[in-house]
């Protein structure tokens, strides 16, 4: 899936280049068109905003504390008092879900952003400088991409140990190569465009050409990659935490909640299914949004 998406992102970027879109104003128009035409993407965007708000305002929405134990009401089924039931310590599941959303969302966004910056920088450098720089960066990218992402994440987490910061680092190391490859391909095309040549002729420095002329033209593609990297990060983190290799208690992420809730799958299934549904919703929403962005950027797909 990621393969086809990457291909589509590249195609979309090509079309953008050809039609000379890519200026900021036209880009804003595109966004507006997406909201108007693609209702699913628009709805997903609203859902994401709502989830971010819920995570931010968590403490105001619930009367319980994150680690407030109530041993008399352990593993209580969902009821009016506890909308999603309670866990093995009598803690309110909905409350923990809201607090866990902070970690899960942060883990979706931060590594996606970091890998975007790292990947874009290395991709532009590889594409523009060529030669040895290109060879070294791209061979490392090849090796990274040869790993199944979950496996690479597991090995890196083993080397680094658990914890939020290490999860950030791991997910960044897992995702950068993808970005670098796409950005490099774009740079190779842009390098020979007239405006880049013109800049070169009037003596603009290499670094400035990369920063001011090439990178801005990659922005639409980067936006799509960013949107699609977020759900990928959330999924990998939740899988790692599910195996006990990711976020460590007392921090709570949705994946970790499922990990601890697994022992009670048969007596208290809501412990697993509530965070599971939350993960699915957010991943679905980001995927819809990413696809919506792709459709707007790639006019050919609209015909279908």
């Amino acid at each position: 899936m990621l393969r086809t998406k990457r291909k589509r992102a590249e195609q979309a970027a090509d079309l953008l280049l050809q039609s000379q879109i890519g200026e900021e104003e036209r880009f804003r128009d595109l966004m507006r068109r997406m909201v108007r035409e693609n209702k699913t993407a628009a709805a997903s965007f609203v859902l994401i905003v709502l989830m971010v708000l819920a995570a931010a305002l968590g403490p105001l929405l619930t009367p319980y504390g994150e680690n407030e134990m109530d041993l008399l009401h352990r593993l209580a089924a969902p009821s009016a008092e506890h909308l999603l039931g309670t866990d093995e310590g009598g803690r309110d599941v909905l409350t923990r879900l809201l607090y866990g959303a902070r970690v899960s969302l942060l883990i979706g966004v931060a590594p996606a952003l970091l890998s975007l910056i790292l990947g874009a920088a290395l991709g532009v450098a590889a594409g523009y400088r060529g030669g040895l720089t290109d060879a070294v960066i791209m061979r490392v990218a090849d090796v990274t991409l040869a790993f199944p992402s979950m496996l690479l994440a597991m090995v890196i987490m083993y080397a680094l140990g658990g914890g939020i910061l290490n999860v950030f680092l791991t997910l960044t190391l897992v995702n950068w190569a993808n970005v670098a490859r796409v950005v490099r391909a774009q740079t190779l095309k842009l390098k020979n465009c007239e405006f880049v040549e013109a800049a070169r002729i009037i003596g603009v420095s290499r670094g400035r050409i990369m920063r001011r002329h090439i990178l801005p033209n990659c922005l639409p593609t980067l936006l799509v990659l960013f949107t699609l990297n977020i759900p990928a990060s959330i999924l990998t983190e939740s899988s790692l935490s599910f195996l006990g290799l990711g976020i460590q208690p007392p921090n709570a992420s949705w994946g970790l909640m499922i990990n601890t809730g697994r022992q009670y799958l048969y007596s208290a299934p809501w412990l697993c299914f509530a965070p599971g549904a939350a993960i699915m919703l957010i991943v679905l929403a980001f995927n819809f949004l990413g696809n919506g962005l792709l459709d707007v950027l790639d006019p050919r797909m609209k015909k279908q």
């Binding site: 899936m1 393969r3 086809t4 061979r139 490392v140 090849d142 090796v143 040869a146 790993f147 199944p148 979950m150 496996l151 597991m154 090995v155 890196i156 083993y158 080397a159 759900p231 999924l235 939740s238 899988s239 599910f242 195996l243 006990g244 290799l245 499922i258 697994r262 799958l265 048969y266 299934p269 697993c272 299914f273 599971g276 993960i279 699915m280 991943v283 679905l284 995927n287 819809f288 279908q304």
Partner: protein, 308 residues
């Protein structure tokens, strides 16, 4: 031309494989602490630890260790597992069979369901079945594997008691894990089949076939599907290797003794030889898968064959 191309891809794959081996090797060795100390516990005396370290060659410089590892790995010797005390190659051999069966079942499910849904969606484009199937496949892509696995386990094994909860005593034990593992791929295959089939149906030769008087079913199967399957087939080759190496979570949930579960056990036991070999195996499978996909494409598509 084809042969030269193939040789180039083969060399590339070998280079990547060497890189992967080196990366795994270095990553597992930057972990702080002597593995011998971890293995023997807190109360081991310094002398024994030193002797064991020398015996296992862990006191040698890193590059010596690496070449030693490579040269014995090529001969099929991956060392002895720290936590289980058995040769790694024997542990993996047994586990790989289970993983292979699981991946085969999962692939079978994904391909049959995925292609069928894809064809049906393309034929009934933008009507209710299409919407339904495509919504379903998106759900498949977004559902984390562990959720699919636990959901199936809860509903079919615990509630309905149709199938065993875990274990691989009989082949029925593979059904739920295979569906959980293949779910994701089924969604991808369905979407891919639908897209390529729709594109192919707009080609000129389809009109020709229709004009010739072929029935709609014949056109769909003999003319459109055959050409539309190319990208799908390539994707399936890549997917299969993904299934083989991606069974970590499914095997953990359903307690299947496969390579993925072995890897999780290696991590919790801080068992470097085992972790090294399992991750190397999984990555090799993926590299071979994409190599196979490339070959498949050039064999099946005469246009590419000619271009070389």
């Amino acid at each position: 031309m084809v042969k030269r191309n193939l040789a180039r891809r083969l060399v590339q794959a070998l280079i990547v494989l060497t890189g992967v081996t080196l990366l795994i090797f270095v990553m597992l060795r930057i972990v702080p602490g002597n593995p011998v100390e971890t293995m023997m516990g807190e109360h081991a005396n310094a002398e024994t630890v030193a002797r064991m370290t020398a015996e296992m060659g862990l006191d040698q410089p890193l590059h010596v260790q690496f070449f030693r590892y490579i040269s014995s790995a090529v001969r099929g010797d991956f060392g002895t597992s720290y936590s289980m005390g058995k040769p790694v190659s024997r542990l993996i051999g047994g586990a790989f069979v289970n993983t292979l069966i699981l991946a085969l079942f999962a692939a079978l499910f994904a391909w049959v369901v995925g292609i069928a849904c894809g064809i049906f969606s393309a034929v009934r484009k933008n009507r209710l079945p299409d919407r339904l199937f495509m919504g379903f496949s998106l759900l498949g892509i977004s559902l984390p594997v562990f959720m699919a696995a636990m959901f199936l386990q809860y509903v079919f094994a615990f509630r309905l008691q149709w199938l065993p909860i875990s274990g691989t005593e009989s082949w029925t034990g593979f059904i739920l894990p295979a569906v959980a593992l293949g779910w994701n791929s089924a969604g991808q295959v369905a979407q891919m089949t639908r897209t390529t089939l729709l594109e192919t149906l707009q080609e000129d030769y389809i009109d020709t076939a229709r004009a010739k008087g072929r029935g709609p079913f014949g056109v769909l199967i003999r003319h459109a599907l055959r050409n539309a399957m190319l990208p799908v087939l390539t994707m399936m080759a890549i997917q299969f290797s993904g299934l083989l190496s991606g069974a970590v979570i499914t095997e953990t949930v359903f307690s299947i003794n496969g390579v993925g579960r072995l890897m999780v056990q290696a991590i919790s036991g801080r068992d470097i030889p085992l972790l090294q070999a399992t991750s190397l195996l999984a990555t090799t499978v993926v590299i071979l898968g994409s190599l196979l996909a490339d070959c498949l494409y050039s064999v099946l598509d005469p246009r590419i064959r000619k271009e070389g």
